[in-house]
């Protein structure tokens, strides 16, 4: 239902009314019903480079965040999967623990860490590594830190579930057949954990594209992401139809990724590799 309403609004025209859009269906005269489908909202998105730019930027940020999550998360998932069983649960708990507090709180905590007179700068200054505070808050750096930090568990958990099923004797077999440990990792572990990598990446990438809170709080004014644009259109401009169009377009953009994720999941549960 909400989706149908959004879809409907995206095809209607702006109006100074409450709610601020014109109805799609209108009684014209006595017995005729007019359907006014308005593609202008979509057309508008393509005429103003701001929107395309925001879309592209969102994809870029999401992609880079996913990549960074992967680089950080793979060794962590691998480490947990290879840890002693008793230690494993503790490590997993540490990964999940942050979820028990609100995302907003955690992002505000990062503000406290990153700001000019925040924890990190203070420590670095007192250690004499730097002499004046680094500008970290309201930069892309802060935004990436926030996104990677928030979404890392989404990557680690499916990857861990995948790696945990792995038969480690395969690595010994590979070494026995002449592989150095890193070659064995590259030729055996990596291909066998492909489904876990894909599943985890999609779980990070899809929500990261539409991420609003983190770029708004940590990223500063230049972090133009599509979630932010959506927010501005909706609340600042009161342009519900355009905002809806943005939402629909975002959805269309993400559908292929979601389908991909679904098929990976299906393959994973089917057990076929």
């Amino acid at each position: 239902m909400p989706f149908a309403i959004v879809l409907k609004i995206s095809f209607s025209d702006v109006d100074l009314a409450i709610p601020p859009y014109k109805p799609l269906l209108e009684w014209v005269g006595k017995n005729s019903l007019a359907i006014k489908v308005n593609f202008n909202n979509y057309a508008f998105l393509f005429t103003d480079s701001l929107y395309l730019h925001a879309f592209a930027n969102s994809l870029k940020v999401a992609f880079l965040s996913t990549l960074m999550c992967l680089i950080l998360g793979y060794p962590m998932a691998y480490g947990i999967a290879r840890a002693r069983p008793s230690l494993r649960n503790v490590l997993l708990l540490l990964v999940i623990l942050p979820f028990w507090t609100s995302l907003l709180l955690r992002v505000y905590a990062w503000i406290g860490l990153l700001k000019a007179n925040g924890v990190i700068n203070n420590v670095l200054m007192s250690l004499g590594v730097i002499h004046e505070p680094l500008t970290m808050l309201y930069t892309p750096f802060a935004m990436y830190v926030g996104i990677v930090y928030s979404y890392l568990p989404f990557l680690i958990l499916p990857l861990y579930a995948n790696l945990e099923k792995m038969d480690w004797q395969l690595l010994e077999a590979a070494e026995d057949l002449g592989c150095r440990p890193w070659q064995a990792f590259y030729k055996i572990t990596l291909p066998l954990s492909r489904n876990g990598i894909l599943a985890g990446s999609m779980l990070v990438f899809i929500p990261a594209v539409g991420e609003f809170v983190i770029p708004a709080l940590l990223g500063g004014p230049n972090a133009l992401m599509i979630g932010r644009v959506l927010w501005d259109e909706f609340f600042a401009n009161r342009a519900w139809p355009v905002a809806s169009a943005v939402a629909i377009l975002l959805l269309i953009l993400l559908v292929p990724f979601m389908m991909w994720y679904q098929s990976v999941q299906a393959r994973e549960t089917a057990g076929g590799r």
Binding site: Q169, E172, L192
Partner: protein, 380 residues
Amino acid sequence: MTASAGGVVKAQPWNDPSARPYVEVERISKSFGDFKAVNDVSLKVYKGEIFCLLGASGCGKTTLLRMLGGFETPTSGKILIDGEDMTGVPPYERPVNMMFQSYALFPHMTVAQNVAFGLKQDRLPKPEIQERVATMLDLVKMSDFAKRRPHQLSGGQRQRVALARALVKRPKLLLLDEPLGALDKKLREHTQFELISLQDKLGVTFIVVTHDQEEAMTLASRIGVMNHGEIVQAGTPSEIYEFPGSRFVADFVGSVNMFEGKLIEDEPDYVRIGSPELGGTIFVSHGISAPPEAIVWAAVRPEKIFMSTVAPQDGTDNLVRGTVQDIAYLGDLSIYLVKLPTGKVVRVTQPNTSRHAEAISWDQQVYLSWDATSPVVVTR
């Protein structure tokens, strides 16, 4: 010449002091924390042998094998393969391949890719890889399955692929960890002989770990019986079976009736043992080295005991009377459990050579006897 089927070694290099061992394990130990998995083991294996490490689970046989493969670092001692010290040499640089108990086939590769893996790793030219893979698959009769994935194969087929993958690199030494453990009995028997003929063809030295004494007897040129991290006895299968050096070996390899007793006569060419457990005396036609009046054990194999319903004519040695307590008919042979007046239960096996043998049945009085050459006297 032994009755052993295993191994291309028809001569007996282990009895020849001038023969050069191919694999030399020198006083090797491995501890995990306080636990001594392998304790001061020395071993010489000769080229072309199938050497079986036989023992119950936890006796250290797999740890020893893994040290040969380079997967465990010995706490002390060293291993030489073909004269080269293997200390500190990682698995990927050893001239050794291993067939894992779980087979450890790569699930994301086809049979052919699995077999080719080690050769690709050595960067051999493509045509040579293809040729060697094809030859090897042919040898293990898996050519028709080259494009299959491991999960599409049966247990026996996987075993053959694992074997092919380990052998295709032409290792100096092949380590096999319970190679037939995952197969059912019929297939196992069949595969044992295949394994021997394959080894015969390729001349690769095998070291096999197994807990199955029948498997060890069939495969091995020599068996090393392991217990608590030590090799308690090494020898050909018939030596191990007929001349066990201790109660443990006698009991572990095959089944045996063990009679505890005291030496009452100790001559160079015979001994007589008084055994309260048996309720009689045991006469053994060979001398042993033990202090007089020592406690010894006479081991008599079940198939070397004669059983009859009438008393044999001669003597009082090696003769005892009992009651049949239980019978297990196995088709080719029957196992009888005979209870002696002393309470000891003796195991006797008799081949069912005739289809209409006069049956000895439950609760019947029988006489058990054996030749003076049959008992093995052990002192520990």
